[in-house]
Subunit: 215 residues, 2 copies
DNA sequence: ACCTGAACACCGTTCAAGT
DNA sequence: ACCTGAACACCGTTCAAGT
């Protein structure tokens, strides 16, 4: 049987006396990092703090990760996994086609606004060094592929212009990514309310940018 | 007469013996920070290092800035100043209209790809806290206004759809910002060559997204 | 006013050592 | 194998002191 995570209490009160603590320390470390990042942002993430919350020495982490960067890579990887799932669900759930495309765009921005700190870890360049993270690369490419596949299908249906799908996908990804960053950044413009409406507007404008020209 | 900056040599060789060193330490600090950021990225920026390059104690900075964050705000502010100038020049230089809009989009992405680290300080959320930086806010809003004004003019000429200009501008800014981030991030997609061509493609797609619908 | 040098608290990481 | 505690190098920041 897989062990359920034992100690997820927000207030770390209980004292454990056992010597070897966790059944799955690696996952517990990632989960705790995600919690801290969600609550206080990446810059507040401290290895010492992660260890303290898990009642574990601050160096125990090095048994499972090469360094702090590797922990962040794991966080980003997990983010991309659920991210991709939400994109694919939106596309399928709205019945593909034009509506599916719009739903996917809205889902993208919704993910970012609901998990701003996590999203920043995924795209903020904290991870971009390219050193490690074959799994991260695979996971993020899988998310990108959801979009590419949708665009190809829309092209075959005659709904989207017949530019090279990769070029098209980079534009779409960039446009939605930029809208997401502005929505969660507070830079230049403040969200001030209906970010869902802004997301819908963005999705529609992007559709106009890529739809097949009238003939 | 205004003093010209005296010591901008890349290799800090010369030894100054004077007691009170710089005529304009504040500007020298910003310049040095920009140099370090451009060369090695934000994460390599260290107050100790800035001081060492300027042959100044590492705490001298606190006479001119409240903390490291304030120095980064100054860097971002200066970035926004030249950024806005390049956008306005592109718009005017291409004779406004549709061509001006496309030129402005290309200039935006060019600035980002030519000054990736500086661009990240401006938009990477290193500065977003909103504490200080009234000047920063004014400068970044001025850049945004270049775009809004252009869109309004294009609307009056019947070239751009008559959505609320602010909504329109947020979309355009986001789309180009996202393309710029992807171009300099190495995330999801690698630039692998003609980033100028990608910029031109992005600008054209954005134009299709905002142009007045055929009637 | 402007700058310095010593000191402080905090961080990521290493390493010899325990079970 | 997995975890610990002490130690190291480095960081931003503070502060009493110098000119």
């Amino acid at each position: 049987m897989a062990a359920t995570t034992p100690a997820a209490a927000p207030a770390p009160e209980r004292k454990r006396r056992n010597a070897y603590h966790h059944g799955n320390l690696r996952q517990a470390l990632v989960d705790q990092a995600v919690r801290t990042i969600r609550a206080d942002g990446v810059e507040a993430l401290t290895l010492r703090d992660v260890g303290a919350h898990l009642r574990v020495s601050r160096t125990a982490l090095y048994r499972h990760f090469a360094d702090k960067q590797a922990l962040l890579v794991a966080v980003a990887t997990e983010g991309f996994r659920t991210f991709r799932k939400e994109l694919a669900d939106a596309w399928d759930g709205a019945g593909r086609g034009r509506e599916g495309f719009l739903a996917q765009g809205r889902a993208y921005i919704r993910f970012a606004t609901e998990n701003p700190s996590h999203y920043r870890v995924m795209f903020g360049g904290y991870v971009a060094k390219g050193d490690c993270g074959a799994e991260l690369a695979a996971e993020s490419e899988a998310g990108f592929r959801v979009l590419v596949d949708a665009l190809v299908e829309l092209q075959h249906a005659g709904l989207v212009r017949r530019d090279p799908p990769l070029e098209l996908a980079v534009f779409v990804w960039g446009a939605v990514h930029g809208a997401a960053m502005l929505a969660i950044g507070g830079q230049v413009v403040r969200p001030d309310g209906a970010s869902a409406a802004a997301a819908a507007y963005t999705a529609e404008r992007v559709w106009d940018a890529v739809k097949a020209p009238a003939r």
